[in-house]
Amino acid sequence: MKSKAWTEKFMQGVFAVAACASVLAVALICIFLFANGIPAMSKIGFGEFLTGELWKPKNDIYGIFPMIIGSLYVTAGAIIIGVPIGILTAVFMAFYCPKVIYKPLKMATELLAGIPSVVYGFFGLVVLVPWVREIGRTLHQGGNGSSMITASILLGMMILPTIIGLTESALRAVPTQYYEGAVALGGTHERAIFTVVLPAAKSGVVAAIVLGIGRAIGETMAVIMVAGNQPRMPEGIFRGVRTLTANIVIEMGYASGLHREALIATGVVLFVFILLLNFCVALLKRGKNYE
């Protein structure tokens, strides 16, 4: 009897330890990133590092402002392209889609989420880049196709499944009486959806957008393959741009010394951005619970 009680206790301990793994992982990630990134930042100077417009590792000038702006621009572009299409597609899935084709379409959105980012990047490289090059030339904008707009379009595609999935479930969570009431008052199908159901699902939709932003700002490989990656202030939507994520992957291979630490510090900045976004999502969720 006694040994059995002991095993029970022992296994409970094992489960508890396993549960600590995620806490430990987050703690280790924070410690290692900050411990390796913060010293470089203070060596370069926080202000200079974050707002410096020049990135010249050879001359020991490290300013990541162009990359911060690049990440923000590309993400904003992705949101402008992806969010309207995503929300409208979610409305289609929830209110228009004939039952027969719903299942295949649902699987298609899941597939869209499952396609690896390198494959998206490759697609962007061989299809979108030449297209944008042509458009840029006809508009006399120049550029070689690897540009801010290309990255935005590609990221817009990549955040679609996130936006569609979460918006659709938010729409479905709205009680049907809302819709029925609106239609009973004489509203059309569209009016009922867009003036009653969609506003009621607001918090879910906003959470979807915030998660979409998180995905876009953290995306690395696809962006590297289509954005051009010039480390300078963005000059226009048809010109190349470098994001924070791209900066890390491109230069980490040969960096050493302060250069390498500056790259890790770039990762720290990215990490802080993501933590802030996560915090927003947590707040949104909490807000929903109290409603």
Partner: protein, 287 residues
Amino acid sequence: MSSNEVTWKDKLKAYTRTPGSLIVMLLVMLSAIMTFAVLIFLIVYVLAHGVPYLKPSIFSLHYTSENASLMPALINTVIMTLLSLLIAVPFGIFAAIFLVEYAKRGNKFVEVIRLTTETLQGIPSIVYGLFGMLFFVNTCKWGFSILAGAFTLAIMVLPLIMRSTEEALKSVPDSYREGSFGLGAGKLRTVFRIVLPSAIPGILAGVILAIGRIVGETAALIYTAGTVAKVPKNVLSSGRTLAVHMYNLSSEGLYMNQAYATAVVLLVLVVVINTLSGMIAKRITKA
């Protein structure tokens, strides 16, 4: 047809009376068509350009600068997937068991675990890659190795496995547990003999999702597992997975045809993985 049924004509007439609604409806349709057209175009484009290059030489066991074979990368992918799961699955399942079966509701510790799991889920893969490089490669002195890559990926997919196992455990009815306790079984026995077996499909769906993420991962692996295009001798040697292989081919720009072929293999893998998880999910809803 009965007279009070709404026909297409009636709908059309109603829409002509409310042009605003008509425009909105058209926008909705257009968006949906665009979304699915993009997916279909991507798949068809990659298949059309890649399938012709799926020659036997690309599946040869050794990578040379002439054939740019993807076979070593494919083998590495399998090894990497197995190794990552070997680490992440026990931890994920045990953690979920703790959260669902042992922890008391409203426990502060549980809240901390929830918070950190959600944080892990939002961290971009390049940050995992940086951490893996700093910790596993440098601090643990494993060098660029399969092992470092697998540990990095294991942390990355841990929240996924935890979440799906949690959901699966929660959906097991309490009457199962009560019945087992009533028959005199202890808590541990109940968990392993009764609860876990009924939760297997849900856990499996999570594991398959995790496989999908591992197979498609690049940014977290470049600076942890490295980019050597060989089958590794042991877990401490470097090796590139299929996704990394694909990135290298397309950024070098010398082997575009092979890159297309690799894209096809990756796509096929992803489709298979997705269908599998879909089938399992369907089984769960049926049961």
